[in-house]
Symmetry: D2
């Protein structure tokens, strides 16, 4: 039964009949059932997304409840096992824990390589760096664009790390595809549906951050947009929601980690840096996320954060990142996970490592 129409206590027999008729007209099978106070009508069959809205407006209808989830390809009901991605030999999802790290924005060749080297040595497996920066002020640094992408590609090749960078405009999908290994969809673009459709037409992994006001279902529907175009390589990331709490930039919704994993087979990451907004809080949030079962974290690291052009206050120093990685590895093991390092698992690899770099 896909839909349940709850009639008002005051609904007449005619109202009920009208709903029954309309349900049938919509191609669904109606199942009316008279209760103590109210009648409810089940409606079985394949419905269109508009069905609920239309039935809700019939006279005497109080509420229409949807039983099956609006997402399908993202749902664990349709794909029970964890999806494990292979990104240039790095396995992401399932028992594998990966840390994506790097500077917020690509500012200079020097800083990118310095930070990249440091995070790789500490155990990060994927390199991040922003070339197109969505900024709330038109007067803020907006990123170095294609020039930044070139530096990122170079750094990825030299450090033998897959790279990820944000894409904010459907017109940039092609150039980002050319230079980076993964697309990042930022929180502000989580419901930029045309952008989701464009990256959905490619074959590179898409890392979708939850919007500031997005529900779990909204996030799953955004993943569904990408999946619906044939690109099944999707990662979802909790990065903090907007609440009344003023003490941090955003409230990291730690419950989203187990809830998403229960509903979907896709890997779930957390972003402790943007949630915290200040580096002192990053380790606590990162460890909390891994303890809650996340498949990884994306962490901003900067060697000289008080001169960074973007989000410096939340960037962790390379030295502290080393300590954090050690704790992450220990916590991951307690919850039955294992950190993936440099394209290999840390100790006994449970699979032959072919790597993605030799090819």
């Amino acid at each position: 039964m896909d839909l349940i129409v709850v009639m008002k206590a005051s609904a007449t027999a005619d109202d009920v009949q009208r709903v029954v008729d309309r349900v049938a007209e919509l191609g669904l099978v109606p199942h009316p059932s008279k209760g103590e106070f109210r009648t409810i009508i089940g409606a079985i069959g394949e419905k269109s997304p508009e069905t609920q809205d239309q039935l809700e407006q019939l006279p005497g209808v109080d509420e229409v409840m949807v039983i099956t989830q609006p997402y399908k390809l993202a749902s664990r009901e349709f794909h029970e096992a964890d999806t494990i991605l292979d990104i240039k030999g790095i396995r992401v999802g399932g028992p594998h824990v990966n840390i994506i790290a790097g500077p917020c924005a690509i500012e200079s060749r020097e800083i990118l390589f310095e930070v990249g080297r440091a995070v790789k040595d500490a155990g990060a497996s994927i390199l991040r760096g922003g070339a197109f920066k969505p900024r709330s002020s038109p007067y803020s640094f907006q990123g170095r664009g294609r020039e930044g992408l070139e530096l990122l590609k170079e750094a990825g090749a030299e450090l033998e790390m897959p790279t990820i960078t944000e894409v904010v405009d459907p017109r940039d999908v092609e150039v980002v595809y050319e230079y980076a290994d993964m697309f990042q969809i930022g929180a502000r673009n989580m419901q930029n549906f045309n952008l989701l459709l464009e990256v959905g037409k490619t074959d590179k992994p898409v890392f979708i951050k939850r919007g500031l006001a997005a529900t779990i279902s909204d996030l799953l529907m955004s993943a569904e947009y990408v999946l619906s175009q044939g690109n099944h390589r999707v990662i979802m990331c909790e990065r903090g929601i907007r609440t009344f709490s003023e003490e941090v930039r955003f409230t990291l919704d730690i419950s989203a980690v187990p809830v998403l994993q229960e509903r979907s087979h896709l890997p779930v990451f957390i972003d402790p840096s943007h949630a915290a907004g200040k580096r002192d809080l990053v380790p606590a949030l990162a460890l909390a996320g891994i303890a809650a079962g996340a498949a990884g974290a994306i962490v901003e690291v900067h060697s000289c954060p008080d001169r960074a052009l973007c989000d410096g206050p939340q960037a962790v120093l390379p030295g502290n990142f080393v300590t954090l990685m050690q704790q992450i590895r220990q916590v991951a093991e307690i919850v039955g996970h294992r950190v993936t390092l440099w394209g290999r698992e840390e100790t006994q690899p449970r699979r032959p490592v072919t790597g993605g770099w030799a090819t």
Copy 2:
């Protein structure tokens, strides 16, 4: 004084000196002042948006407060009088109250013209209709695109009403410019900065809806994006924010109306339809908005909402819209406003009416 750096109680004299030096290095004039528990350092001068982030990370710093607002062109400090737009002879803003009405999506020629005629007769001055629909499900009706735009243009010409339609992709700005009189930026795209930049380069009015999780400052910064490109014809619209309240679709933040009007010279509208999510609540919210001083409302009207392909439950029926318009006119007058009808003011026009249609 543009910035105030508050030192921690535990900050040393060296910490204070380091901040003073850095403030000077950033081109600002430092003004240290020792308090009972803490020292604060004022910093006067033209700062870049990164300054606050950078100072916050120096040792001993507790907090950096920004005194001047990050938006300038949108601010009432820089432009005291209300901005009044002239949209094909229709005056928007200041004492003029305008109602934008029409169907959510452009579904068919017949419905668009039927609803358009009805809302014009009832007193609406601008015609709305969606051709590109951002939908949370990839399986929902996505709008009729260019074909819808053609119908909208035709309807506007026949009814002699300016038209407004949503644009969701920077690649569509050109085609929407060709067919419609105003750009609508939807809530989900309020921080699609590239889209804002594109419409900012045109000379047609931009109607920006507040995002579900956007603060008042965020909304003003999005207006600033458009203004910064030279397009000064911007309207802001409160359409409901996401809160814990589950009884309506979104919580109409009625306080945003007077707060925005205090901070900015730009006209402020409200959208009672999307906030309510059901038509029974639309009149109460629309009247509340006008009573709170809004320069207008955007209302969805449909002649056959239980067969609408999009947002039917919140569409008002044409008959009820007539009653609502009468009440809106009365409430507007109480708060010193006056409803603009068909390019003319209702009763005694306080200005010569030249109209926009004869030219």
Copy 3:
């Protein structure tokens, strides 16, 4: 049908049978119905509040939906007509609009009488004043207690206005009963259930403010606590909820007015003062509330607010209150309401005025 148990897609026939058996054991009649993907089981009959929780835990159960509302006496389903209270001859609810006004706290005899006289002359029908002040800081002014109550009673008698004051402690219900005509339950005590039970045992009207994080159902359940004890004289008040919005103290949830009125027969007021937190915003919010159909507003007025000991910034000056009352009267009429003044309706009384003061 009171409950609907939705089984998981993976539920076995045994799981279904177990739920059916348990429903029967709980004294309800089970109605299983097999859908395309899932089975649902309706459960008809009188349930205890624990039933839902218990059924949700059975194996194979995905969700248990409750169809009938948890509140009964407060619900419009059980009492269709608007409740109209008679408070010393003042009619509250239905078409009657009443403004409660006065200082936040009772500070001195002089200010209370001065403000009381001013608000009565302007048209307020009920006098407010706090004697027990719940303050977030233990170091703030906490109110004058019994001494304040004595002043309030004296002022009410002299001005011939019913009085309302907040009660925060079950131990104070008796003394407040003795001195005031109405109990106010503040937002922070909306779920102080023992306090609700105590005022529910009296026969004086109870004015319940919505909590900062209370849903509409929570508020109705708090009203239900009072009603369940036999006191049917309850008024509910929307006073702003806590959201991410930082520009006002609380976000006035204007939609709560029509939603509460749809669900309940009890009068609904708004509190523009606490929502706004600053006086400049009070008129816009007050008018919005009346335009949305509220049965009244509670407004803080102070003759010398910059020396007030509590919430001065939100107190309206007596002169501005006169203007506000005039606008409130006009807006009330547009939405079919009528402001009640001094125990009488303003112009043509539709009922014989017996008054409460002569008796």
Copy 4:
């Protein structure tokens, strides 16, 4: 400097002078400083909580910022080292991690003892059980009152565990003091200030849960209420806040753990059970809290949750609690903490164990 008064850009020299005079009149030392656009005035000295409100209302004032926190005794500025409580020999706070466990409500002697034995064996150090239950419905089970307290005391004595139970009414403080070892103040009573004052006058530890809409500062102010009465034995507990997220009962604000620990010396716990609302999520949230550095967790355990009279769906089964305790111990060690068991530390006790039971 305690306060900063920011003048509007439009403020006149007279406005500035008026503020300067008023600051002096209030006993503070004014420090005016003229900036590029605005003047700001620092105000040094001991201020009353009303000062900010009063200054904000003077002509030309834009905003008044408070530099020093409104809480003092709870602040780490005034008490740098972690407070470590000794509760009948159990050390709480600092490096000690304690798990409080037991049934939500005390339903029967049998279940209380069965669950108590199980949680003690698994490593919990404090026994919880509710005798007075605040329920949103007046028709729900309200707890067994004094009878429940007697059972709790008996169980604590037999199991040699300190006990904690909720108090909801100032009139019950005496009886709860007699029977239990710790007071719990529930989320709905966090700002029941008279209740806080009453427990503040006792010498038993007070465990304060954060309210659904309470900021970090609100929680610290509630702690301050207790501390201000001379009772310095306070624990604060994050238990989930109300946000738009519908997938869990409340959103566990994991960031509150490090933020509270940075601001205050008092121990910080988390409550994964009430935040989750369903048992499957409890382990993830509990481990996240410990990983984030919490001094402990309060967990609901029930041997037969699908027949529990209160909050059954979130109660963990005794068997799963054993596993959870093992993981908690491991995670605690990674972050430098150590779980306290049965009044003793687990392995090498760093202090002589005298116990609290022999005395």
